[in-house]
């Protein structure tokens, strides 16, 4: 494979594509609302109408407005006609959508690409999502895929790649927000020898589906990002650690790796250069703690997925003791775009300290649910009220939960906060990997805190005492409060134990497990106090 061949594939694919494409979302969200059957009906209708020569029905990835799925979009290859988006398409609607190509009305509800839900978005990571067939490498190549890998191999030396990423200001999208360039530089500076790249796809926060969507919708993008990372740090082997609960993502990844290998875009001497890079998938068995990097490494090595104390950090001693770069799916998915458009372009997006965009899974009581990608610095109000359309119940938004079980609840009064790493941390929550759950006034915040504590209690690996036993006790205390059996003393103990678990746990799971309690105590203490009973007996 050389550049000419890549460009030839690109051209061939562009020529192959028919002038009208009916994109049918077959990512997990729409699939679960019946898009496979819709797609079959669309195909049958194209045949029935005799439009086969000019029209094709394509499986594409996530079109983002998941709450209104199944989504279907009719686009013209030449871009001479405005795309038409249909929402909540049923099998009964399918034929009418095809007939509408010849004139007439489709029965499916029309979507609006100018709706704030879409209009405020800035897709970088999701730029191909919902536009290409994730199961065909040719479609990725047709939109410029793997060209950045080529450019990196022939136009950059590894240090320049690291420098580019550093200057872009990209920070870890898994939640920590550690500067990606710095992480790359650390691994790159380790003495030459066996090094690894790991893509952390063990997304496990309740309500979060950003990484799943990226892997389902544009897997090659992640592979290309990993290969570029491998070149930059001097690694020849990558692992994608993906949870078994994501079968579609795993299937798309497997297929993508096979296709990339067939085209020699992964493997030995990529693009005829001396750079070798292979990627293997490791399927996680569903332990949330395996998203923690040291536990993840143990799991990839085939051991029990327990975290270990850091230092040494994986950058120094990771997989099988070798320097290892671990990046989250979304972080890696940003890489090809940063290389393509340049660090300066990327650094102009977002805020001073949080560059670029962030993908969120907007869920909960909000009217418009789905996947959004917005520039850093967008306010929570813009996301929740404009894009999300607010909540349907009286009293409006009560709180927004970000960061999953490690995050916190941000009260409605702070909705004007800009979404960036520092601001969210200041509010007692975290950016997290991108789960964003909107709660309305009917939500009981103590119950919310208990829900997350129940989650952490079940997901603690059990290695260190504060997390193993502390989360159990915290859950019990929250239950006691909810059952109206607790007194002021219990609330004090709850708070004290929260700080203890936070300060003494071994890994991030335990350290952040009390966050949902602490943040609800900070903003909704009254709800706890209202449930307290006067202490019985005298003291």
């Amino acid at each position: 494979m050389d550049l000419a061949e890549l460009l030839a594939i690109r051209q061939k694919e562009r020529d192959r594509q028919k002038s009208t494409r009916i994109h049918c979302c077959t990512a997990a969200g729409c699939l679960s609302s019946g898009s496979a059957a819709v797609k079959a009906q669309l195909e049958a209708a194209v045949d029935a109408e005799g439009l086969g020569a000019s029209t094709e029905v394509c499986s594409v990835g996530c079109m983002r407005f998941c709450g209104r799925g199944p989504l279907v979009e009719v686009v013209s290859r030449e871009g001479d006609r405005e795309p038409i988006l249909y929402e909540q398409v049923t099998t009964a609607d399918a034929a009418s959508i095809v007939k509408a190509l010849k004139g007439g009305e489709a029965t499916a509800p029309l979507g609006d690409r100018n709706h704030p839900f879409f209009a405020r978005q800035f897709p970088i990571v999701l730029e191909n999502s919902g536009k290409i067939d994730p199961e065909r490498i040719e479609e990725y190549i047709a939109v410029g895929g793997y060209q950045q890998l080529y450019r990196v191999l022939y136009e950059y030396d590894p240090a320049e790649v690291v420098d580019e990423i550093t200057r872009s200001g990209l920070r870890g999208r898994g939640g920590g927000g550690y500067p990606t360039g710095l992480k790359w530089a650390t691994v790159a500076k380790m003495p030459a020898g066996q090094k690894y790249v790991i893509c952390n796809a063990d997304e496990g926060d309740p309500g979060a589906f950003m990484d799943r969507s990226v892997l389902e919708s544009d897997p090659h993008r992640v592979l290309e990002g990993m290969a570029i990372a491998g070149y930059a740090i001097g690694a020849n082997h990558g692992f994608i650690y993906v949870r078994a609960e994501y079968p579609l993502a795993i299937r798309h990844l497997q297929k993508a790796i096979q296709q990339a290998k067939r085209y020699s875009l992964l493997g030995s001497q990529i693009f005829g250069s001396p750079f070798d890079f292979k990627i293997d998938i490791r399927v996680g068995a569903g332990a949330f703690v395996c998203g923690e990097e040291t536990a993840l490494i143990a799991s990839v090595e085939g051991r029990r997925g327990n975290p270990r104390p850091r230092p040494p950090y994986p950058a120094e001693s990771g997989l099988w003791g070798c320097p290892t770069l671990i990046n989250n799916v979304e972080t890696l998915a940003n890489i090809p775009a940063i290389i393509r458009e340049g660090a300066e372009w990327y650094a102009k997006i977002g805020t001073e300290k949080s560059k670029g965009t962030k993908v969120f899974a907007l869920t909960g009581k909000v009217r418009n649910t789905g996947l959004i990608e917005v520039p850093m610095g967008t306010t929570l109000r813009q996301i929740v009220e404009e894009m999300g359309g607010g909540v349907a119940t009286a009293g409006g938004v009560k709180a927004v939960q970000t960061g999953g079980p490690s995050g916190g609840c941000i009260p409605a009064s702070a909705l004007d906060t800009s979404v960036d790493y520092e601001s969210l941390t200041q509010l007692g929550s975290i950016m997290g990997s991108g789960g964003m759950i909107v709660m309305d006034n009917e939500t009981n915040m103590v119950d919310v805190a208990r829900f997350y504590m129940e989650f952490c209690r079940g997901e603690s690996c059990g290695k260190c005492i504060p997390c193993r036993a502390g989360t159990v006790q915290l859950y019990q205390m929250l239950t006691k409060i909810l059952n109206r059996e607790a007194s002021e003393g219990d609330l004090e103990r709850l708070e004290a134990l929260c700080y203890m678990v936070r300060d003494t746990s071994l890994c991030g799971l335990g350290m952040t497990a009390p966050n949902p309690v602490l943040s609800t105590l900070r903003y909704f203490r009254q709800e706890y106090e209202e449930l307290l009973q006067p202490a019985t007996g005298k003291r």
Partner: protein, 238 residues
């Protein structure tokens, strides 16, 4: 050999680089409490009792796995650490079924000693009373899971010193339990050499010699120390 100088509780200490804070403190005559550390096997940093405060760091760091650095200023007994340690011990007592009165290790138990050391006169957390079992299928030894605190010392001595790796951890969270073999009765695990190192290593009465009754359990930790250091000290008999 390069030397690092540091301060622990105001005492100046000079130790070899690469030494853990726990070992450095020991050299300075300062005891940092721990339940999962055992001389001679690897450290896991699991019990969190050895957490210390280091000036300039806002995190509490486990002394067993943190190496000394030049100029470190370490505090091991601040009120915060003391309170957290007591809570840790309370959590341990409340999560298992630790009935000193009927335990073989009564009077010779590191958990019991730790409760005394942290001044625990009662636990502020409700007891969980988990339903755990007992395995006495091994002809010489037994494990009472009620008394296990998951320090994993048994696993490490068996793996790293004896080389048998009979012990391992199964499940997670509150359901976590030590298992023998592939979760078989201990007596059926062929890999077990009946060496008894796990019995010596166990800090509580969880792993015991059969036939011992309440408070009869005596441990001889020097046995383990001998096994660990015999080769380098060229002590071929004991």
């Amino acid at each position: 050999m390069s030397v690092r100088t540091l301060r622990i509780n105001g005492i100046d200490v000079a130790v070899e680089s690469g030494t853990s804070i726990l070992a450095a403190a020991k050299q300075a005559g300062i005891t940092i409490p721990t339940l999962c550390h055992l001389d001679g096997v690897s450290d896991v940093g699991a019990c969190r009792l050895c957490l210390v405060e280091i000036q300039g760091s806002n995190k509490l760091l486990p002394a067993c796995v943190t190496e000394v650095a030049e100029g470190m200023d370490i505090q091991t007994e601040t009120p915060k650490l003391q309170e957290y340690r007591r809570m840790t011990v309370e959590l341990l007592f409340s999560e298992g079924n630790h009935v000193c009165a009927v335990c073989v290790a009564n009077g010779n138990c590191e958990l019991q000693d730790m409760a005394i050391a942290v001044g625990m006169d009662h636990t502020r957390f409700p007891y969980r009373f988990p339903d755990r079992d007992l395995d006495v299928s091994h002809p010489q030894f037994g494990i009472d899971h009620n008394r296990c605190i998951f320090c994993t010392r048994c696993m490490r001595v068996c793996d790293e010193i004896e080389g048998a790796h009979v012990w391992d951890v199964a499940q997670r969270g509150a359901a976590v339990r030590m298992i023998t073999g592939l979760n078989q009765p201990w007596g059926e695990v062929e890999a077990c050499t009946s060496c008894g190192k796990c019995v010596e290593a166990c800090p509580t009465g969880a792993i015991f010699r059969q036939g011992s009754t309440v408070a009869e359990m005596q441990r001889d930790r020097s046995t383990l120390e001998f096994l660990v250091t015999a080769r380098e000290k060229k002590e071929w008999t004991r």
